[in-house]
């Protein structure tokens, strides 16, 4: 019997971003096709999209035209969705997103606060279109920007970008129009444009999402930039750890070529341009522009001193313009929509929006695109839904390993380049890691130092040796072996590394230390003077204790303990010997009555 929904007209979009794919969303798509066939439903389009930026809620499925968003979908849920929603027009409430504050179930994508409060300019197509279909890109305004640019002169395009006030979104925030102008004016038989897609900050995934979900926006931006600067060859340097992004971008290049948006005489003009994909090889330092250039040239990724700058002397000695993925995407947006529209959003000195990856101890984690100038408080408590488990907010670490920690006193700070810099952090590529009272700030600084020390290319002394010394001192502090002299040395060494390093990896590596020393000095002092870790994280400075009144003598902890540190009789109170205990936490996690507590060394109860 042909069902009622023979004239369904619906569209089911399944997210195939890396996050959802790793939860087998491709199988969900296959199942949809199966079930729809079984239910004899025609006229329903099943397609896949790129990343929505809401990966913690994945796998994500959306249904149009209702704008229904289903989260945490399993393959087993598919028959229910098909039967209930597609056939019987009854959306499946149990799969709706649940607001973490109100606990209400919300059906519509655009009603979710996480999305409602965003202003998605360059993320607008992410999760909405099939990234491998160039027609869907064109139908949503794609390549209009390029067409407009080709009707202007090179200087006019550059002026347009200058007037928009667009600043590089790779971290430094250098005015993009000015950068393009330098390269345009530089002398060189050849000129190159490069997209820096070596997103290396731990936990950052905005560039990845854009490349997977809307690769043509970046491609178009590069073509516009190449035209403005006078380049006919572009490179995208993508980290090899993003195989899906590489695959989608390569496909985008192929389809763009076949439609005449790349190659010779683009859109009938005299402008020719093509792009080559170059994969990275696992070095964070290759995100630094001169190291990136060396890597494309086939050399070891070690930065070189500037001046001269790549705009004058870059790839193979020729003028080269390097911009981040997001910057290129903004370029195509601005050319399409006009610079005034861009300036309407954000602040005077930092117009437009910025993308942040909100992660850590936050209820809603994912990618958000908000206007520059938005307050941190709004991001964390409204979009983010607040701290996980409603614990006490401690700090937000911004800008990845090059950034610093901002305490709750700075929650009213607006997000822009200047305000973050003054606070001893950076906006960087947009990482935001929320930490709560259970995070040790010294341990956090140590974590980032471990990263920068292992990624240091080794060329210059202050970074190679200095970050190792900084890391060793922080480790000493977390082990309770440090003195106040060590703290002074930490501070001095941090500034030596900042002043002496060759590139921004070294120059910003001490930022986690400098900012935590500024805002959380007492936590450092507790570790040093009191041999105490207030967050109860540093293993040498905590102990586990049994609260006798709560203990029911079930002996569970005694059985779990790998080193036999616990003694006690059945039904009697148990005791943990601190001299044997290795602080693995197994007893703490397994106690059925929560009778075991973590204590910072001086017996302060949790």
């Amino acid at each position: 019997m042909k069902s009622d929904s023979s004239k369904n007209g619906r569209k089911i979009l399944i997210c195939e971003g890396t996050g959802c794919l790793s939860s087998k969303s491709d199988l969900i798509k296959d199942r949809f096709e199966e079930e729809l066939k079984k239910a004899d439903v025609e006229d329903v389009e099943v397609t896949f999209t790129g990343c929505h930026g809401f990966c913690a809620q994945g796998p994500i499925v959306s249904v149009l035209p209702e704008d229904t968003l289903y989260v945490k979908v399993n393959v087993e849920d598919v028959p229910t969705i098909v039967e209930s929603h597609i056939v019987k027009n009854q959306p499946v409430e149990k799969l709706f997103y649940e607001d973490p504050t109100t606990h209400n179930k919300i059906e519509r994508y655009h009603d979710i606060l996480f999305y409602k409060k965003q202003q998605r300019l360059i993320l607008s197509r992410c999760g909405q279109i099939n990234p491998e279909r160039i027609q869907e890109y064109i139908d949503t305004g794609g390549y209009i920007g390029l067409a407009k640019a080709l009707k202007l002169s090179q200087e006019e395009v550059i002026n347009l970008i200058k007037q928009s006030g667009l600043r590089g979104r790779g971290g430094a925030g250098f005015p993009t129009g000015l950068k393009w102008e330098f390269c345009y004016k530089a002398q060189g038989e050849e000129k190159y444009v490069v997209c820096n897609a070596d997103e290396g900050d731990p936990g950052a995934f905005m560039d990845r999402s854009i490349l997977e979900a809307d690769p043509h926006s970046v491609l178009e931006g590069m073509a516009i930039g190449a035209y403005a600067i006078g380049s006919s060859k572009g490179f995208i340097y993508v980290r090899a750890e993003y195989p899906l992004a590489v695959k989608r971008f390569r496909k985008a290049i192929e389809t763009a070529r076949s439609k005449g948006y790349l190659g010779n005489n683009i859109l009938g003009s005299s402008f020719s341009f093509d792009i080559q994909v170059k994969e990275g090889a696992g070095a964070f330092v290759c995100g630094e522009e001169t190291a990136l250039i060396a890597s494309i040239e086939g050399k070891r990724g070690m930065p070189v001193s500037k001046p001269p700058f790549p705009a004058e002397h870059g790839l193979w000695g020729y003028p080269t313009n390097i911009n981040n993925v997001k910057t290129w995407a903004f370029a195509s947006w601005i050319l399409r929509n006009g610079y005034e529209e861009f300036r309407k959003i954000g602040t005077e000195s930092s117009p437009g929006t910025a993308i942040f990856s909100l992660t850590g101890k936050i209820k809603n984690s994912g990618l958000i695109e908000v206007p520059m100038g938005t307050k941190l408080r709004e991001i964390i408590y409204e979009l983010g839904g607040g701290v996980l488990e409603d614990k006490e907010f401690k700090a937000v670490q911004t800008g990845g390993p090059s950034g610093g920690c901002l305490p709750k006193e700075l929650l009213d700070l607006p997000v822009d380049f200047e305000s973050f810099k003054e606070a001893d952090s950076i906006m960087g590529s947009g990482g935001m890691v929320v930490v709560d009272e259970d995070t040790c700030i010294v341990d956090l600084a140590k974590y980032f130092l471990q990263f920068t020390q292992s990624e240091s290319c080794g060329k210059c002394v202050p970074c190679r040796v200095g970050t190792k010394e900084l890391l060793d001192i922080c480790t000493k502090i977390t082990e309770g072996k440090a003195t106040l002299e060590d703290l002074d040395m930490l501070e001095e060494l941090a500034h030596t590394v900042v002043d002496g390093s060759l590139c921004n990896l070294g120059k910003t590596a001490p930022n986690p230390v400098i900012s935590t020393l500024r805002y959380f000095k007492d936590e450092f002092l507790a570790h040093i003077e009191e041999k105490r870790c207030p967050a109860k994280v540093c293993k040498e400075l905590i102990s586990y204790q049994v609260v006798e009144d709560a203990c029911i003598g079930c002996q569970r902890c005694k059985r779990e303990c790998p080193v036999d540190a616990i003694t006690g009789e059945k039904k009697g109170p148990h005791f943990i010997d601190a001299s044997i205990c290795i602080r693995c936490g197994l007893c703490y996690e397994n106690c059925p009555t929560d009778a075991i507590i973590k204590v910072d060394k001086f017996g302060e109860v949790a």
Partner: protein, 522 residues
């Protein structure tokens, strides 16, 4: 015009701040900088402040621009420099530098202590030339406040010719750059990352298994004792230093040679000939000293009397040879002229042959096979013949060489001569005529080839051989309109005169054996 520390300096475009400072006697410390190489900016010691530029910038990489105002030695910069130097010193044994007994130790312990592991200045082969120490003194280094990070890497002593102790390497990158840019071999590179960063070869292969030519460029540019030439490292300051021409092949490379205690201490390319590529090969760089310093050098003339050779003097030796010549018809005498003869010796031998009407003059060892056929009875050779069967048909074998080479035991007369490092003269090379100078005295009674010949000519009553020195021979050559031909010796030729170099230089033997399957050994 640019202003450095208040001093106004005129300049041309294209120079860096460091180059201008140096040209105007303003001291800025550097370690990774080197005159042969492009600037690198790694050690960070040359950091200066430029008005208008944020933070600090390296003087070695920053191009000087009009109206720049540079400060090289503010208190802030000096403090930063000392901190950076301290960081370098956390990885480098520095106890001798901070020890309170350093001065008296230097006075009393005049010798270095040979050692495998370098634990301080007193056990470091580079103690006298250590650039690290010189910089420390100039910037006022006193102590290291940071914990030591000694790397505990194994010593690399399994390659021929030079040792590597990367525990004291400061990662200035000079060796990498010289190997890549000047030597063009690209054998040494930066490996690994972070604190584990180490200079090395791809996959940590021994150098013998790479494209390394053992040219020694890396050893020459190393500012510390991390890279050291095994046979040269413990001799400290040389007694003498000259520039001369290498005669191990026809390339004619200009060499700087140093001697100590009348032995050749080291050989390097002439520093004033900063070449577009590093102009010296393993033979000249590392084998030459070992070859010519060998104790088995011939020192005394020997004369055979009733099947036994007795040491003699030049008068008797020359007389004996002259007697053999007088007693033999000239068509039964042959001369072999080694390609290693100087132009003067070659000229004189030819003049000698002409004066005697001697036609059997051979210049390549292959030609000697006619000796039995032509019934030649006497062979006067300037290098040991390789085919010993030739000796069977001879009555008298007169050997003039530097080592007891082939046929030595049967030689009627043995005439010890000098290597080219022990005499003055000239040699026609691929680059034209070049001069040689002596760096060490000849061993024992050994004499230059031309002098031996002149003595023989005198005993044979030939005129036109009354020369006291090579200048007089040169005048004679000019008067006769003579220019010596190029007697080509291939750069891969493995002998010197009658001796295989690998017989005297064990490391060379190792190199040749390890690379026998390659097209060329280096």
């Amino acid at each position: 015009m640019i202003v450095i520390d208040g001093k106004e300096i005129e300049f041309e475009e294209g120079k860096t701040i460091l180059e201008l400072a140096r040209a105007n006697d303003i001291y800025i410390p550097t370690l990774c900088d080197h005159e042969y190489l492009d600037s690198f900016g790694a050690c960070r010691l040359c950091l200066v402040q430029v008005e208008g530029m944020r933070g600090f910038t390296t003087a070695c990489t920053t191009p000087a621009k009009k109206d720049m105002k540079v400060t090289t030695n503010s208190e802030e910069i000096n403090k930063l420099r000392r901190s950076i130097y301290e960081l370098i010193m956390t990885e480098h044994p520095n106890s001798c530098l901070v020890c309170s007994m350093a001065e008296s130790c230097n006075e009393r312990n005049c010798g270095l202590q040979k050692s495998g592991h370098i634990t301080g200045c007193q056990t470091c082969p580079n103690r006298d030339n250590c650039e690290l120490r010189i910089v420390g003194e100039k910037i006022g280094f006193e102590t290291v406040r940071f914990p030591t990070l000694y790397k505990s890497l194994p010593l690399e002593r399994y390659d021929p010719f030079f040792d590597r102790d990367y525990n004291i390497c400061i990662l200035c990158g000079r060796c990498v750059r010289v190997c890549q840019d000047l030597a063009g071999a690209g054998v040494l590179v930066f490996t690994k990352r972070g604190h584990e960063t180490k200079i090395g070869t791809a996959f940590e292969k021994p150098h013998i298994l790479t494209e390394c030519r053992f040219c020694g460029a890396c050893v020459d540019v190393c500012p510390t004792g991390a890279l050291s030439a095994r046979n040269q490292k413990w001799y400290r300051e040389p007694d003498n230093r000259i520039i001369t021409t290498c005669m191990l092949c026809s390339k004619g490379c200009q060499l700087e040679m140093e001697s100590k205690w009348n032995y050749i201490m080291s050989v390097r390319p002439d520093p004033d000939h900063i070449p577009s590529h590093y102009n010296i090969c393993v033979k000249g760089r590392f084998c030459l000293p070992v070859l010519f310093n060998d104790t088995e050098r011939l020192k005394l003339p020997l004369i055979m009397r009733t099947h036994k050779q007795f040491p003699s003097n030049w008068r008797d030796a020359a007389n004996t040879v002259a007697k053999i010549f007088k007693e033999t018809p000239v068509n039964e005498i042959a001369l072999y002229l080694s390609p290693f003869l100087t132009d003067e010796a070659f000229y004189l031998f030819n003049k000698f042959a002409k004066a005697l009407g001697l036609e059997n003059v051979f210049t390549s060892q292959e030609e000697l096979e006619v000796i039995p056929k032509k019934k030649i009875k006497v062979l006067y050779t300037t290098e040991g013949v390789f085919d010993s069967s030739i000796l069977d048909s001879l009555e008298s074998y007169i050997l003039q060489d530097i080592f007891p080479s082939t046929g030595f035991e049967q030689a009627a007369v043995v005439l010890p001569t000098t290597a080219f490092t022990e005499e003055k003269g000239s040699i026609t090379t691929k680059e034209g005529v070049r001069k040689i100078e002596p760096i060490v005295p000849a061993p024992g009674l050994a004499q230059p080839d031309w002098k031996i010949l002149c003595q023989l000519a005198e005993d044979l009553n030939l005129s036109g051989f009354e020369f006291q020195n090579t200048d007089e021979i040169n005048s004679d050559m000019i008067n006769s309109n003579y220019s010596a031909p190029l007697r080509e010796i291939d750069k891969y030729y493995l002998n010197y005169r009658g001796t295989a170099i690998s017989d005297k230089v064990p490391d060379f033997d190792i190199l040749l054996k390890a690379r026998k399957n390659r097209k060329t050994p280096w």
